[in-house]
């Protein structure tokens, strides 16, 4: 996939795709809907969601990420209907209503969820 105007290319944005045929939302970009094969449109997400899972990472594999230890990696179910991985406040719990900000990590920016 070519560069997208989201956090993976240093823009403070979360993008997702929705299917023109079946309406399914997907986070990992593709040229088609992974449910039905239909055409997709790209949308900017509100950044709002709910925590699905969390893990506090205390052992990293690279020097760049080690400098940030410990950090909380979360899976968030966005209100738009897709799930994404991100960072978040260390005390986030499953079920918390959250909203995305962006924080630096290892020379880039990553989505960082805080309680709403």
């Amino acid at each position: 996939m070519s560069e997208r105007a989201d956090w993976t290319s240093a823009r403070e944005a979360i993008l997702y795709q929705s299917c023109c045929s079946c309406g399914a939302a997907q986070y990992f970009p593709r040229a088609f809907c992974a449910v039905c094969g239909g055409d997709v449109t790209e949308n900017r997400a509100s950044g709002e969601g709910r925590v699905y899972a969390t893990t506090l990472v205390c052992r990293a594999a690279t020097a760049e990420t080690r400098a940030h230890l410990p950090y909380n990696i979360v899976l968030v179910d966005a209100v738009e209907g897709f799930r994404m991985m991100a960072h978040g406040e260390k005390d986030l719990a499953i079920g918390d209503e959250v909203v995305a900000r962006f924080e630096p990590l290892a020379g880039r920016i990553v989505p960082y969820f805080v309680r709403r």
């Binding site: 996939m1 993976t8 986070y27 990992f28 699905y52 899972a53 969390t54 893990t55 506090l56 990472v57 205390c58 052992r59 990293a60 594999a61 690279t62 990420t65 940030h68 410990p70 950090y71 990696i73 979360v74 899976l75 799930r83 994404m84 991985m85 991100a86 960072h87 499953i94 990590l105 290892a106 880039r108 990553v110």
Partner: protein
Amino acid sequence: MSFITGVGLTSFGRHEGASSLDLMSRAAELALSDAGLVRREIDGVLCGYSTVSPHIMLATVFAEHFGLKPSYAHAVQVGGATSLAMAMLAHHLVDAGVVRHMLVVSGENRLTGQSRDAAIQALAQVGHPDYEVPLGPTIPAYYGLVASRYMHEHDVTEEDLAELAVLMRRHALAHPGAQFHEPITVADVMASKPVALPLKLLDCCPVSDGGAAFVISREPTGEARIHVRGCAQAHTHQHVTAAPALGELGAQIAVARAKAIAGLDIADVRYAAVYDSFTITLAMLLEDLGLAKRGEAAALARAGHFSRDGEMPLNTHGGLLSYGHCGVGGAMAHLAETHRQMTGRAGARQVRDASIALLHGDGGVLSSHVSMFLERVR
């Protein structure tokens, strides 16, 4: 029909100076000897992969090195499910008459051949390259996410998970080839260094050097008559971000298919060999497979149900958690141990009755699953 006619397993841990090919060769030699076969009788080779020495044609690299000229050979890559995926493929190829004696082999100097950081970093790449890996996850982090959700939905505690680490360690104490020989307690697991909470160091399998092999043949080559009764796979996703809900994971799908193919039920199983990369992996798979009720794997472990003399002996060699994990060979050790149990050759670890075994492997982040029933026939 297909029969597992021989198994070979090296010790796991440190094998200073041994390459992946060396470890594969040692395991292959043991498996051939166990099957009573010589090199020229092997007409098929399946192998896994080596993260230390990646190669686009590992099976033929190995065949040349070991001295084989097979009529069928290639590598297979399904992460932690590779072991049983190879066994399943070997079964079907042998059953279809394509191959007479398939050598399945893997080995890796994953511990001494690279730094721990390199090993952890290499494995983290199963994550999505753009939308997961840049967040600095590790394999324990992917499983830490799953663990947090599973514990949340099913009231499982960290102490519960620790029971499974303690059980695997107790089993490893009875196997001279295991990487770890010091007993541990639930308190030790709880006090071990945090890795990706809720997972701590002793909830995680180690990185090991080691090798494993087995031969799957059209006919028995000796007295052992252990045949593949039925097997099946399920693949629901690759990345944890795209995983289905906990109640819809591939283990349940794969085992349901395997039961139908084998005409067996969980009540028929006498020995279990289940992938245990982390304590959470083992707890979830035991419950998904139906070897424990939802949320009860730890209680059963505590009560001795999965012990050598319990109702459902499990991973009596110590599993990945305590025998060790050298990559693809790690879960091949489960099959090697199962074969030794089924043929009454497990020595001090021998269980009463291993006439029917259920094996299960998981690759990625509960992404790829293979379930297999083995049966001893007369």
